[in-house]
Structure formats: structure tokens, C-alpha cells
Symmetry: D2
Amino acid sequence: MDYVYGPGRNHLFVPGPVNIPEPVIRAMNRNNEDYRSPAVPALTKTLLEDVKKIFKTTSGTPFLIPTTGTGAWESALTNTLSPGDRIVSFLIGQFSLLWIDQQQRLKFDVDVIESEWGQGANLDILAMKLAADRAHTIKAICIVHNETATGVTNNLSAVRNLLDEYRHPALLLVDGVSSICALDFRMDEWGVDVALTGSQKALSLPTGMGIICASPKALEASKMAKSVRVFFDWNDYLKFYKLGTYWPYTPSIQLLYGLRAALDLIFEEGLDNVIARHGRLGKATRLAVEAWGLKNCTQKEEWFSDTVTAVVVPPYIDSAEVVRRAWKRYNLSLGLGLNKVAGKVFRIGHLGNLNEVFSSSFGLSTATAGLS
Amino acid sequence: MDYVYGPGRNHLFVPGPVNIPEPVIRAMNRNNEDYRSPAVPALTKTLLEDVKKIFKTTSGTPFLIPTTGTGAWESALTNTLSPGDRIVSFLIGQFSLLWIDQQQRLKFDVDVIESEWGQGANLDILAMKLAADRAHTIKAICIVHNETATGVTNNLSAVRNLLDEYRHPALLLVDGVSSICALDFRMDEWGVDVALTGSQKALSLPTGMGIICASPKALEASKMAKSVRVFFDWNDYLKFYKLGTYWPYTPSIQLLYGLRAALDLIFEEGLDNVIARHGRLGKATRLAVEAWGLKNCTQKEEWFSDTVTAVVVPPYIDSAEVVRRAWKRYNLSLGLGLNKVAGKVFRIGHLGNLNEVFSSSFGLSTATAGLS
Amino acid sequence: MDYVYGPGRNHLFVPGPVNIPEPVIRAMNRNNEDYRSPAVPALTKTLLEDVKKIFKTTSGTPFLIPTTGTGAWESALTNTLSPGDRIVSFLIGQFSLLWIDQQQRLKFDVDVIESEWGQGANLDILAMKLAADRAHTIKAICIVHNETATGVTNNLSAVRNLLDEYRHPALLLVDGVSSICALDFRMDEWGVDVALTGSQKALSLPTGMGIICASPKALEASKMAKSVRVFFDWNDYLKFYKLGTYWPYTPSIQLLYGLRAALDLIFEEGLDNVIARHGRLGKATRLAVEAWGLKNCTQKEEWFSDTVTAVVVPPYIDSAEVVRRAWKRYNLSLGLGLNKVAGKVFRIGHLGNLNEVFSSSFGLSTATAGLS
Amino acid sequence: MDYVYGPGRNHLFVPGPVNIPEPVIRAMNRNNEDYRSPAVPALTKTLLEDVKKIFKTTSGTPFLIPTTGTGAWESALTNTLSPGDRIVSFLIGQFSLLWIDQQQRLKFDVDVIESEWGQGANLDILAMKLAADRAHTIKAICIVHNETATGVTNNLSAVRNLLDEYRHPALLLVDGVSSICALDFRMDEWGVDVALTGSQKALSLPTGMGIICASPKALEASKMAKSVRVFFDWNDYLKFYKLGTYWPYTPSIQLLYGLRAALDLIFEEGLDNVIARHGRLGKATRLAVEAWGLKNCTQKEEWFSDTVTAVVVPPYIDSAEVVRRAWKRYNLSLGLGLNKVAGKVFRIGHLGNLNEVFSSSFGLSTATAGLS
């Protein structure tokens, strides 16, 4: 039984899960396999090596965990920190809010820096806090690279510069869920200690794999971190990495082959070309929004996101109704406005394996309105 | 190895083969099966019953032949006619031309009624020929319902009216390749004797199945027809229909399950809704062409096709270059101009399992031109 | 790139991940979808309702968590218990060992009852412990229904009887990873408080979904449980259940449709027929092992497992070599001996969507002849 | 709706259509494409080049026709012969019978050499006919390399030797439907003029592609052949080969990618290894039949087929009942006895992408032990 049925294909433009390319769908169209045979470790080895490239790291250690972004967050935090640790965290939209909620529930002492939704992380306040923290009580800075709820991209390089300026040893933990593989991301250059994404975002896979990369400093921290963890414990992976069998518990065979295919597509196009393409399509989307006479939820150009655009609807319209009607009438999936911007914005995801023609999907509304 | 690779999906808007709906791709994603088991005949029985509905016939006999439209043509002709038989055939574009070529090579005496490309069948001349043919030397009228090369739909009901008016017993053989399941087609009401289509057209399947429906009069004619035929002989099918095993030779298991899924989708939407949707999308396409300031190759509204639009480019542009660039730059597949209209038109296929958002794929060119 | 290549199909007989039926592979062969559209909650609703049937519960609350069996264990423990809580846990093989390891790392006070590998849970000792525990310091009994490492099935009904006999309020937490959907399992009747399985076992799906069912008493306990948890917190699910959107974070669209198809197959065959079939194939496997002149690792008939058989090889043979050669030479995947029985046993998984002919893969035709 | 449902996979051992390897199923799991884009001709070019290797020809010209084996037969005959031409044809089973029926209906003068079913072609009679035919009235010898109904392999090399011995210029037309890609076949060395197979046989694809290879002498003959043909006319292909677009009418995109994958698998294993494997599995099957105490329908070892074994059942058993019960009870598909051997034999297909473990499906472990 297919619950979505209408003629034509579903036009999927939510900011995740995103469209899966045909070659990746094909690669995953398979039976299970014994993950203890020689084949799966051989495949895994190539994946662990290659996945580092999407983080732009050579010194990082990747973990492919059967979980979602929420689990990846938990893995990043519990492996590097101990209950009671002070962390600075930016609240700029629904996803940073959820991460902060998790941080609090995991018993960290969360020092929240809040911005208006539609603005980026307030780095001036971060600077003040770092300057004031001579005792280095701040153990980690947690930041969402791209806030999916508002379409805001934060400047990670600036965060690194501040940490360097104040010679502050805090770990830099980055949620790259809607950025990695789509926006410029440089783990090593920016001194990111833990970066993470989910398979269903720019990698264009099904949900189910949390992809985490830890710097040597993060691995070192994990030896001291007292947060209770088992399923998300990096150490269980490291033990199996040494054995060459790689998996402490059963991975999804399909996602492994899917990841292989997804990485092959990205490398075939060239990661920097992929990023440039997102830049092009992001800009095209913003031009379209402008042409419609609508406003971008993101308040300044420096924060414009090339993976998701939150479009503000006029006050007399309920954005949820736009989403509902697009889905029902046109088999077109758009993102809802969440929490503070519920009813006020709808979101267009333009990340993953897309090309120019996709964007025309948004040129139609007036043309078709008279016909349907 | 995938020869078509570029980021994003291929946007397929040739008038065949057309986009396959996901549920149909899924249904065909399977191993082979023994076609002599009880399962395949049981499935076939439902297909033969249901496929009649897309022809709007209750008295016709369908044949599902492992071949293409060209083979279906041959099956229609050789089963009903004898070498030397006089047939009247309309030449209005590349596909009617190819059918006429086949008719001649099969040794029929073909009386060709030619129209300028972009016009429909000249029924005035047909009327004259019928009026003059008191001896009933004309054994069949062969007409393409929808000429895919020029986007011209012929008026079959008018053809039937002429035959009735002159009480002429000629068989009416109709190529419905780019019409059946998309345009209004009424086999019984219009007294069509053989109608045919191919799986890769409005049924939205892969190529490989020629679908033919024969009226009782056509079946009667087949008993006398002296054209040599074996692979395309209806009689071999009829023999196996009687046995209840249905297949004189091995069918494609995948296409059988695919046809089941395709018919299910059509009936779920409702055949008349499918046809109305093609009307809506055809009109939208023509409005877009007009908005681009370009001309429709089809010369009069009465012939406008709701499945394919041939767009005339300005004389200083080579339409093949438009097609080439769309493919290379946008992963967008358009139809070439063929033969007399090569270089002069490109074709947009808007048939099959599409929805409104598809049409926006053609609203983009100017918007993206500056970006890519 | 396929790392397993040899002519012919891979014959997969490890005790997980198991063979996926073709209809399930087909159901999962799809693009992503917006999980916030009306379609996914509608689908989820049927899944939550139907999944209870495989636990044989009407009062339980199911959770479909994007994780593996290890994560499902963690979810069962952290939602019902507080650090320091005393739990009784049976060690009878590698998987019960791993669970105990997790219990200890999660800071519970684990009272381990160990048996020789190849034997079932020692219920006499349990009885003594329960009898002695007048203060009800034991908060939970943790037991693996079917130990996958040794092919031993424990008697859950007997455990319940002991708890009842001693009127002991301890929670009963059951790992049903290699039993549920294959062996007789009765959550309500046996008073199981938390039962869990993984998608890649008898449900015959890919890995990636931990399926957990909580009794009302377990849900009640979760309100008091002080174990730190976020990703695995049932409460986040319950909140979204109330909203009717069901998902606190992104589910795998493919696994949802896959689970739908898997349940449909199970209900079409009838759950009790599925269980009876496992009984038949399990017995056939044991007869074959006997016919080969080899010994079953399981020491008594009462513990024989109908989902996995651990076969003891003669001392002069390394069982890992048997597995290696089967894979390399015959594209046949068997399970390795683990930990204490490494090199001594190989394991045949006979769970999931299999039929009689499978068993002939092991030369069993005569053995099965009398049974089927 | 799946008509075959029972737990477990369908065990497909009919001699066609045969099991499709997973990588081939994956390769075909795709949307349609424009066959006039640059991609499809580029793919086709590699296919035409590589497909010659399975015929072991360098001088032959291959045709990939959207049809079945029956259509391929028709293509072989009508392109090389004229009505009334005398051809010598061997009748040794159901498929040679059907080909002869086609030859007669196509109006050739068929000189039939009949053998008892279970025996090979009677080459002594051929020798006599060739010796007597000084006037070279015999235009072609038609022979089935492997008679699928009885499991009889004819000696083609001996046929060539006779033609050479009598310096007879007759064309040698070979049905290699159940031999090519599985049995030793040498088009150039044996001077075969037209060889043909179907995609659903040893190539292990779905039905739908007739694969034909014509020698230079056959191409020369096609210029003179007066048989009426259009759909099957090689000349239409040759015209498009010259243009570099390859296809006179729409091919199945899925089968093209499937053929690419199938050829890749064959070349990866090595064609001669594939043939040797069929030898091994054929022998194993015959040993098993012997072990069952049953008789091979094939009367002498020189004719034993390594792709299909027809097993004679005791007179008090109806072989159709064996087939019926295998299907219903075990989801095991065996081939029926056809025509003269209906009820007397059932057939085991052991061609295509199989490995040793398959044979155990028939209880053959001991038999194969000594061979592999």
C-alpha cells in the first residue's frame, strides 16, 4: 500500500530526507549479507577512508553509527564530555534548540547564546565569554553549521579564529547535518573536534547512518569523558577497527553499499563542484523567492544558506496550508515552519543530488493555478 | 557503467520511452519465474481482461506481443491483409511515413494520402476515395491517431463516420502508440478494427510489449489473410488462450508484473481522469510555448496533441542544438525534430504518469541561463 | 563494486542478518519521502498497531527505534531502571555476555547467573535468589530468549511462573532478537515487561530498526527510571504519538515500507504457521547434523533452538575454516563460533523467510522427507 | 499482487527463463531514458562489440532484436533464405519441432531428418543428403545446438566437417538458445552462419532480447533473400549501425543495461570458466539422477546436455504431477515434459548464473563432493 499516490512523481524538496539518486537506489537494492564475511570489512575499509574526504580531514577518525542525527549528537557529546561540564551552545532555531535540550538532559551545564530566529550565532557574545573564561571552565563550544529550520549558515572559521585568539582549549563540536557534502566544510583547517552528519541529508541516502568524525584531540578527550555510554561509545568501534572487522554490532548492508555509491557519485562530480552547485542552486532559489515577492527568513546575506531556504509568507496566509496544498495538489513536498516560525515560513530544501531543472519546480505555481 | 551521469535526475520529456512510475519500477524489480507455473497464466488472465479497458472495448481480443510498436504494426497488417491488398494510408509525419514504408515492404498496394507536416489526415480526400470505391477494392484504412513527430492528433470518429456514410467495409487499423491511455480513444464506439500501442508510451512501462486489440471483424479477416507470418501470428496466441496457458513463447515476467502495476495505477486514478490530466498538461505546455514566443508545429487547434508538442525554433537556431544542450547541461531529455522537420522543431513529450509540477521543468531556461 | 562475487547467489545461512524476501526488497526500492507529510504517519499508525501482534500483546506499547539490537537493549534498560539498581542476568553465551557487559557499563548492579555454554538459563538459582529477596532488591530479570551463539532457547514461561510463585515484582526484560517472529513468544501471557528484537532477524528486513515493546508496568517504571537517556528515551516517542506525527526524529522511509511488507507476509502466512515452519526446519536441521555424525552444541533437547543450530566440529578441525571455505568455495555463509566456542562450532541460521528447499542446501533431503 | 506466494524464495530450475543474478537485477532497476541521447548509442556500441565474444566470433555481425527466441529464429531464416528454398532440418524434440513448423509456415521446402526423442541429430542421413546434393539445392542446414525438451546436445563441429567434406555451400543456421554462454560454442571455428540465443537463457536476463549473429556469408545471403520481412530485417539495423545511432526502433533501456551487467559478470568469471562450470554442474545433476535411481531421457553420453537434464520418471508416475507438487509444496520450479514426453519426463534446468550449492537443492551434496 502506497500512502502517497497521485499521478506523477513526488517532488521532494524538504531539507531532509532528500532525493536519492538512481544509482544509489540501485546499489541498495539487495539482499542482506553476512557482515562477518571478508567482503564487508573490505568494503568498510574503503568507506572509512573515503568518508574522511567529505569532512576535509586527514587526521580525523570516522564512525558510521546505525542511528540518526539525534544519535550522532549524543555520540559527539557523551564521548567527549562529562556530566556537569560547562558548554557554550548557540540557539538560533529549532534544531539548535533540540540539541541544547539534549545537552541539558545529558546533564551538561549549558551556557546558551540565543539569537533571534533568522539570525546566525552571536559571535560577539562568544568572544566575551571566551575572554572572560581564563580558567577554561568552558569545555566545549557546540554549534550548528547550518540551522535547517531557518536557513542560516554560521561562520565556523570565525569561531575557530576566536578560540585561537583567546588561546582557548575548548572542544569545537559541530552539527553539520545539513551542511556537510553541500556547503564548504573544512574539519582540519577549522580545527573542528567533532563533526557529524546524517545519511539522509546531502549524502542523499536513506535515513539510518549517523556519520561522525573525531579529531585526535576529541579521541583524547574520550578517554577522560565520564558520560555513561554504550551504544554510542566510540571505544567499541575502535576495538573492532583494530581487529579489522570494524563492526561492534550489525550494520545495514544496504546503507554500506549505498554509501559507497553515494561517495562515488560525489567524487565523480568532485566535492568542490558539488559545493559550487549548491551555491548556484541556493542563489537561484533566493532569486525565485525574490521574484515571487516573498521574503527570506534569513536576515542577512552573510547567513544565507545554500541548502535550505525558509520563505516567509504574508501574514494573512498560513504557511502550513501552503505545504499541505503543495503536497495534496501537486505531489510537491515542502518543509513546514517549525516552532517559533510555524505558520509563518515554509522551507525549500535544495540540498543533495539536484540539478538546475529542479529549481524550475518552483516557477510553476502561478502558471498551473489557473488550470488545476 | 552509467553513460548518463550528471548531478540530479534525468528529466525525461521525450515522447517515448516515458518516465516509469516508482510503483511500476518496484513491481518489475524481480527474478524470473516459470511462465508455465499456475501463477503466470492467472496473472495473464487478469491482464488480458483489464487491458481491454484502455482500448474501451468489450468485444475486442487483446494480444500482448514481445515486440515494439514497429512489430505491433506488422502484426496488425499481416494478420488482416493479403499481399497486393489495396490500403489507404495517411502520411502526415515521420511515424506515419515509417508505417507506410512497412506497408509497402509487406507488399500491400498502398494508396497514400499526404498532408503537409503539421497538418492532420486529409479526410476530404479519403471521402473522395471511399465515394469512388464502389467495388470495395480498399481493404483497410491505416491511420496514426497521434503523429508523434509533429504533435498532430487525427479525428478517428470522423474517419468512422465517413466509412459509415459510404457503407464501406474497409478495416480501420489505428496506430494508437502515442495516444492510447492518454487521449480519448474508443475502439468499440469508433469501430476500430485493430488498435495498437507500445508499453513504453502512455502506459509508462519499459519498451518490449506491443499491445494489440483486434475486433471480431479483424479476427474474422485473419482467417483469410494470406500474409506470411509466424512470430506475429494471432492464431498461435488464440490456440494458447484456449488452453489457458496463454503464451506461445516466453513472455517477459517483469513486463507482466509491470503491466499489472501500470494498469492498477491507471484504474486507481480513473482512465478518464488520466485523459483529462493529459488535456490539462497538454494545454499548459502549449501556453508555455506561447509564452516563450515560439510556434507550435501543429497548424490548427483541432489537431493539437495532448501527448506531444513539436515546438518550432526560429530559423537561425538549430533545434538539434537545443536538444543537445538541454541534455548535456541540464540532464533534460527532449525529442529531436525528425526528417522533414529536423533542425526545425524540438519535441516535448507530456504523456504518461506526470503531474502539474513536471511542466515547470520548461519554465526555467531563462532563469538558469545566467547562472550556469 | 561488489566484494562478494562468484557465480550464483550467496546462500545466506547466518543467524542474522537473514535473507530478505523479494516482496520486501521491492517495497524498499524507493526514494525518500517527507516524513512530516500525512502519508508517513498514516503508514506508521498501521505499523504500530500491527507490530504488537508479533509480540502477542494487546496492552504493550511498541517503539520502532532507528538502531540495532544493541541499542534496543540500551533502550529497554535505561527507560526502566536507575543506576545502581540490582538486576539478575543470565550468562549462557556471547550475546547474553554482551548484554551483561552493557548492563554493567550502564552502572547497574548485575547479579550474573552463569551456565556452561550450550546450556540454558539456570532457573534453580533464579528461584533461590527470588526466594531470598524478600526486600525486593531485584528490580529486573534480564534474559535472552534465544542465545544466538549457542542455539539455546530459554523457557520464559518458567521464569514467569517463578516470579509469580514468589510474588516478586521484578520487571522481566527479554531479548527476543533471534526469537520473536520465529519462536513461540507471548508477551502478555508470560508477563514480559520489555521485549525487543531487531529488524534483520526473523522479520527478514535490513538492519536498522530496533523494535521494542513495553508493558504498562514498564511504562510506569519509565517515569521513575533515573538512567540518563535522550536518543533512546521512550518519552520522546510518546509525546509524538500523542501529536499523531509519531516520529521524534527522522525514520528510515524504506524500513517503514519494508516493515509493512514484512508484516503483510507474516500475517498472510499466519504467525503461528510461521512459528510451526521454524519448528519443522529447525528439526530438519538437527536431523541433518545428526546424519552428518556431528554434535549439537546445545546440550539438552529442552533448549534446542528452532532458529539457530550451533554444530560442534571434531577437535581436529577448526570450525572457522569450515565457515571460510563455505564462503569462498560455495558462496555459502555460515555463522562463526564466538568467544568460548570459537573454532569449535559453526552456526547455521534457519530463521526468517525460508522454505523446505533451503534445508537441502545442507544435504537434508532425506531428513526433511519425513517431516514435510 | 504476487501469484506465487509461499514462505521462502522460489527455487527456479526450469531451463528458461533462468535466475537473474542480483547485480543484473540491480542494473535494470531504472527509469527509461531517451534512446536518441548520446548515452544509449555509446552503451550499445560496447554491447555489440562484446556480445560477439559469447559467440566466439570476430567476423560476425550481431543484432539485438526486441523479441524472443521464436522471433530470432524468424530473423535468421527470413534474412538469409527465399520462399521455396530447400533446407535440411533436424527434428529431435519439441523445440526443433517448433522451428520446423515455423520454417514450413515461412514457405521453405523443409527436408526433415527425424530422430527418436532422446537422441541427437542423425548426421549419417545428413551426410547422405549432402553427398547426393551435387546441384546444391540445399540452401541451409538448420540445427538446434541443444534441444531443451530432451536435454540433447548436438555435435556442431561434426556438422561443419560434413559440409566441408562435401564442399557444400549450404548456410549453417544454429539455434543456440539453450547453449550459447553455457556450452562450448565456436561460431567462427565451426563456420556457423547464423547463431542465435535469447536473453532469458544462459545470459540470465529477463525475456525480451533475441540475440543473433550473422557471418559475412549470411550477410551476403541477406542481400539476395526474398523472404518478406520488416521488423526482423537486418538491413534496417545495418543502416542505423552506419549512422552510429544503432536502433531502428525503440530498444528496452533496461535490457541494455542488464546485458551490460550480464556480460560483465561473464567476462569477470571468464567465458571458458562459465562453460566449465556448466560442465561440472551438468555432471553433478546426472550423478544425482543416477543416485535417485532414475533414468536420463538422453540416450547416449555423447549427447548429454550440460544445461538441461530431462529425467524419466517411472511409468506409474505422472511427471507433470512431480512438477506440480514441487511448485506447490516447495516453491521449486521444474520443467514439464513436452509433447511426446509429456507426463514421462520432468526437466531440471542447470544453466545460467548458478553455483555448486544450487545442485544440493536436489540432494546432490555427495555427488558434487568429488567434483568441486
